[in-house]
Symmetry: C2
Subunit: 254 residues, 2 copies
C-alpha cells in the first residue's frame, strides 16, 4: 500500500507497513501484529515522542550496559522488523551480542530473524546454533531456550517488547532486566529493573547515544539515583495530563 506523505498518520502507517512486511516475510506472527496495535495505542497516549521521565530511564539503561560484564540484547520478530539497524548499532557500540529469543519459536523464524539482523550489519547472532542452546530452569515457554554465550550467562538483558513471565524468570536468576514496553502498567513494565516506556523505533538509538557519552563514574551515579517506580508514576501522570488536554481539545472542536 502506498502512503501519501501528507497523510496525518504517515509516520505511524510507515512503521506499521514494516511490520506487515515482516509478517509477509514469515517471521512476524499474528500475535505480533496484535502486540503492535497495543503499542500504537499506548504510543498515541504518550504523544508519540520520548517524554522527559523516559529520558531518565534511557540514561539508566545506558548506565546498566556501561557497567555490565555480559550485557545481551534480546531480539524477537517485531523488533527485527521495526528497528534492526538500530539494534545492530547498539550491539556494536556496547559490545552486547544480539540474541534471537522467541515465544512462538520455530527454526524457520529464528533463521529468518538472524538473516534480517545480518542484512542490517550484524556480524554474529546468538540463539541460533543448536550446539549453544540451553534452557532456563524456571520458565516453561519456548522463551526458555537461550544461548550459553548470551542470555544464559548475561548479567544485564535488554528485552524489548517482551512478556511478563520471562522478565520475572530473568530477574529470579539474578539478572538485571531493562525492558522497552509502551504499556507502563504491564507486568513487564512493573517488574523490570529499568522500564523504557517508548517506541523501539525511537529509543534504541537514544540508548546508544547516551552510552557513547557516558563514563563509568557517571554510570554509577545515574544508577544510584534511578528510581523505576518514580519514573513509571511520572509516565502515568503524563498520560493523564495528555488525556485531559485531548479531552479539552475534543470538547472545543465540537
Amino acid at each position: 500500500m502506498k502512503i501519501p506523505p501528507d497523510h496525518p498518520r504517515a509516520e505511524v502507517l510507515k512503521i506499521r507497513e514494516r511490520l506487515v512486511q515482516g509478517f509477509e516475510d514469515g517471521y512476524v506472527v499474528p500475535q505480533g501484529m496484535i502486540a503492535q496495535g497495543r503499542g500504537e495505542a499506548f504510543d498515541y497516549l504518550i504523544g508519540e515522542k520520548t517524554i522527559p521521565p523516559v529520558r531518565e530511564a534511557i540514561k539508566a539503561a545506558a548506565a546498566a550496559f556501561k557497567l555490565a560484564e555480559h550485557p545481551v540484547i534480546s531480539v524477537n520478530g517485531n523488533t527485527a522488523a521495526l528497528c534492526s539497524e538500530d539494534l545492530v548499532e547498539l550491539s556494536e557500540v556496547t559490545g552486547a551480542p544480539l540474541e534471537v529469543n522467541l515465544f512462538h519459536r520455530t527454526e524457520d523464524r529464528v533463521k529468518k530473524i538472524a538473516k534480517v539482523l545480518k542484512e542490517a550489519g550484524a556480524d554474529r547472532v546468538l540463539g541460533v546454533d543448536p550446539e549453544h542452546l540451553v534452557r532456563l530452569p524456571n520458565l516453561s515457554s519456548p522463551r526458555a531456550v537461550v544461548d550459553d554465550r548470551g542470555i544464559h550467562r548475561a548479567d544485564v538483558v535488554l528485552v524489548p517488547l517482551e512478556d511478563g513471565d520471562r522478565t520475572n524468570a530473568l530477574k529470579e536468576l539474578g539478572k538485571t532486566v531493562v525492558a522497552i514496553d509502551l504499556n507502563p502498567l504491564s507486568r513487564t513494565a512493573r517488574s523490570a529493573d529499568i522500564t523504557i516506556v517508548d517506541n523501539v523505533v525511537r529509543c534504541v538509538r537514544k540508548i546508544t547515544r547516551e552510552y557513547e557519552r557516558m563514563d563509568q563514574d557517571r554510570a554509577r551515579y545515574v544508577l544510584r539515583e534511578y528510581d523505576n517506580g518514580r519514573v513509571l508514576a511520572r509516565v502515568l501522570d503524563h498520560i493523564r495530563e495528555r488525556l485531559r488536554v485531548l479531552s479539552d481539545e475534543a470538547a472545543g472542536a465540537t
Copy 2:
C-alpha cells in the same frame, strides 16, 4: 493454542484467538490484527466492561435504530470474526440488514465474510451482489462501494470498528452514524453522531436488548436528551480516574 481457563487474561486471549482464526481463514487482514491490538489497549484502559456513560450511548443507538426508516449494519472482517451471532441477532430484531463493507476489499474476502454471517444465521447479506453495488460520491477508498438496498439509501448506519474518512463521508450524505470504537479520541469517535466506546463483543447484544424494551416515544425522548460530546468527555474522565487507581495500585505493589 490452548488457553488455560485460569489464565488471568483468559477472556482477552479467547477473543484474540477468534480473530487469529478469522485471519487464518483468510478474511481478517493483517491491518485488522493491528486494529485489534489497539482496541485491546483501550479496552484495558476503560476496564474491559461497559461503563455507565457508554450505557447512555447504547440507549441512544437503540433509539436511532427504533426511529430509522432504513437502518443498516455495516460489517467488516474483524466484526464478523468477533461477534457474528450478535450482529445477526441485532439485524433480526431491528430489521436492519447486514452489509459487508471493506477498506481492504477483495471479492474473496467479501464472500468469506458473507459466509460467516450466513453460518451465524443471517438470511441475507448485502454488499455482495455486483448488480446492486454502487459508489458513494465523496469517498475514494474501496469503502465507497456500497449496496443500493443498504448503506446507499440508509438513514442510520451502524459502523463498528471503522475508519474516520468513511464516517465523515456518511455524515456529509446526511446519514446518522452510530460508531462503535474503543478509542474515544479517534476521528471516528469524535465525528460520529453516537459513539459507543465499548468492545463489540460486549455492546452489540446490549443494543439489541435496549431496542426490544424501547417504544418510539421513549426513543424520541432518549435522542432529544443525548449529547455525544458529554458522553465522550465522561468516558475520558473515567479512563483518567482508572489510570490514577492503577497507578496507585502499581505504586503499592512495589
